[in-house]
Symmetry: C2
Subunit: 507 residues, 2 copies
Amino acid sequence: MRDLASDVLLTDQYQLTMAQVYFRAGLHERPARFEHFFRSYPDYGAHQAGYAVTAGLRTFLDWLKGAHFDPFEIDPIAGHPTTTGDKMFSPDFLDWLGEHADFSALRLTAIPEGRVVHPGVPLTVVEGPLILCQLVETALLNHLNFETLIATKASRLWEAARGGNVLEFGARRAQGSGAHSVVRAALIGGASGSSLVGRSYELGFLPRGTHAHSMVQAFMALGMGELGAFSAYADVYPDDCLLLVDTIDTLESGVPNAIAVFEKLAAGGHKPLGIRLDSGDLAYLAVRSAAMLDAAGFGDTVIVLSSELDEITIRQIIEQILDESHRLGTDGDAIVRRLVYGVGSRLATSQGDPYLDGVYKLAAIEDRGEWVPAIKLSDTPAKVLTPGAKRAWRIYDERGLATADLLALADENPSPPLELHHPSQAGTKRRLGAERVSELEELGEPVQLEGRPTPHEEILAAQARRLADLERLDPGVRRLVNPHVYHVSLSPRLARLKQELIGSWSD
Amino acid sequence: MRDLASDVLLTDQYQLTMAQVYFRAGLHERPARFEHFFRSYPDYGAHQAGYAVTAGLRTFLDWLKGAHFDPFEIDPIAGHPTTTGDKMFSPDFLDWLGEHADFSALRLTAIPEGRVVHPGVPLTVVEGPLILCQLVETALLNHLNFETLIATKASRLWEAARGGNVLEFGARRAQGSGAHSVVRAALIGGASGSSLVGRSYELGFLPRGTHAHSMVQAFMALGMGELGAFSAYADVYPDDCLLLVDTIDTLESGVPNAIAVFEKLAAGGHKPLGIRLDSGDLAYLAVRSAAMLDAAGFGDTVIVLSSELDEITIRQIIEQILDESHRLGTDGDAIVRRLVYGVGSRLATSQGDPYLDGVYKLAAIEDRGEWVPAIKLSDTPAKVLTPGAKRAWRIYDERGLATADLLALADENPSPPLELHHPSQAGTKRRLGAERVSELEELGEPVQLEGRPTPHEEILAAQARRLADLERLDPGVRRLVNPHVYHVSLSPRLARLKQELIGSWSD
């Protein structure tokens, strides 16, 4: 079934008005190149990310596959009035859209999903007829900006959790159907599962979850109490028994009742899974609950933490557990190892910075068989573009760690020694001798539109790329707060072109 | 076509696991009542909202209509394994879902979309078989929390714009398909249009937009310059000519080129629409551009502002324009009247507070023909629930302004004089004599599942409700920063019930 909102008309009105101008000016089939990049890392208030994780390409490709103009889409456009009551779009233009707007004519190059990426570096490059490049802009930005934002947040949570599992629980407060993108991007960024049922199955993952307060409340109201609720749950799921213990009082009621139920399960040969804490001082309650579970012989159960978690809270909870355990003479590391983190709203909405400032800009257009670089100056200096068709390279140093990304013109093949120019401060540069460069890796890859692996396989591949990239990233860049700045530089030729074009248009 | 992710399995795994517990315990058809409310107004960092605007009910009802368990949905659930490799869900439970999970058995009461609402007040009440109430939780929260969040943000932008049009431009950085909810909620909250094409048509609104920098860049790269781009645009849209003037230099290039094109249009009998400013100091550029347009005889063109706008920035831009105009001796009010605001990312993601903390809680459950109130205590005091089946009333004072909302038990019919109890501080109360109450209005209304108006009519009705409610809201509560606190109080009986239940479970 066609969906007016989600298919090819997931686009901004100005893409259509510009398309008709290109058509009328005879520029619609002119080869053009657009580059998609973000300007700055997500900045969550007091803490800015030091790297991002790219995601969303497949979601965009799935959209692209279904994008075509049928009468279903063309009819409402055809009726769009001008201010004087004429038709905004003329029949010959609409006919062209219906007959010739074939998006398979686009060539895409992209940095594969899951890779660590940095500002100003083209994540996705679209080449083809100007009109088609323009018509995919909104959907491309919508899908890639958001999934990259969430994969980045998930990766930070994963770093904070020090190997503990992070589960995505955010659908109830996610931004509408953005919840579906959240699940996929969170998995790419390091989450090990999601609570959202249909979307998880669609992606080949098992949804995760046990019970809510409402179940305990219902049993309480009916006179069966918290223990009755826990027992009923254990009866149905004897081998998957994980109990939410804070409906009345965590340490006085929830944990003792859970232990009573666990003892019955154990007596029946079942292994209880653990408990979930959802309110109060989670660090303190985790230490105390762990001690009670240990004393009852359930030292191998997990403790799931939830309630407004983010990467900074997780880090602080771990620190506090280690401190308190040290004071109490217990094994804090053992407690931390049994923690699982259920992260909802703050992951699903990237709380603190809910959008990535990704843009999609004309880099070059063909004229008489040559690529002509495009520029935009702007009254806001940070919005001045680096012009021209570009490729991005990652430079690995003598330790094998990524030390900088290098933007060069598309026809350059840089090799060490390298001269690295600052992207906006003209004249500022540094040299990197051949002895300091162990590898130079091109980041973009041609995108295959057909014969792609399953959604599940693509996520696993992206997860592997992310882990490999993090291995080769300086620990200072991976810091959660105040990370070391990773450099993105220009080649000498690209730096020169930028200065020349700024000069020629500023006169 | 069924959509695994969006239909009935837009639910969290724990709704299914709890459903099976209810089924096994014989509680699945027990009448229950859940109430949906939010705990606090959106808080955008330095400024917290003083009211919210409810939205999303229709989106949830559309979901509900398509929610049923077919083999398509049941098959993946049936395959879900336990930790020991057994099946998590048993065939008799799955059969029940397929045969008896009929969501039309639910009775809904809701505060209609577009109304001004406050924390703790039930926005949506769901009554029916416990298992069905539970299974709709995730979708209800997903749709209503997000649209309410965005309608609230849009209403703040509308307040800041002082009657100027606010256009929603956010799809490119919206949270994935959350963009579709944004359009609808923004329209309910006060936006006068959106750039998103398919979704706008679906809702019966015309999408809005003109052209981007890329069009100017393309003409520049091909040697035709900014003037060539503007002329080409004006040729195609002589009666809808609105030009983006900041690609090179707003005052030195963009505005003069726009005026040149406008003069040709005017000579041909056309009326140019205006310009758009997208970078730099928007207030300064608006004052200067307005003067240039006035001098050229285009005083009735609009000036569209865009670039990271939010309600505080809009307010400051207006203040700055009025100040500067006063200094320059020009008519600042006339400039402000011609402004239009294109608001993107910060509206579409509710930047500053990207999720509403709405919850859906069991309020009561039937036992032997009686409603038994449900309670949850929690280790976090703010999470303690007000128990029981409740109805909400709005109290209007002698001026006809809303002065407080009153929560009472569902079987109460409050009438003045009123005793208003603080929702969490036991014993704190105030009296409102009959002479100070001009009207007592029940807020919830039964929801019709069938025979509803078109999406367009529903949005218009919601817009009208919002305007009527704002007319009757204290101006202090409408302030953008540091609003006066609107009170939500409990009836004496409800306050007493809450204390009794807390006492009985805390012993």
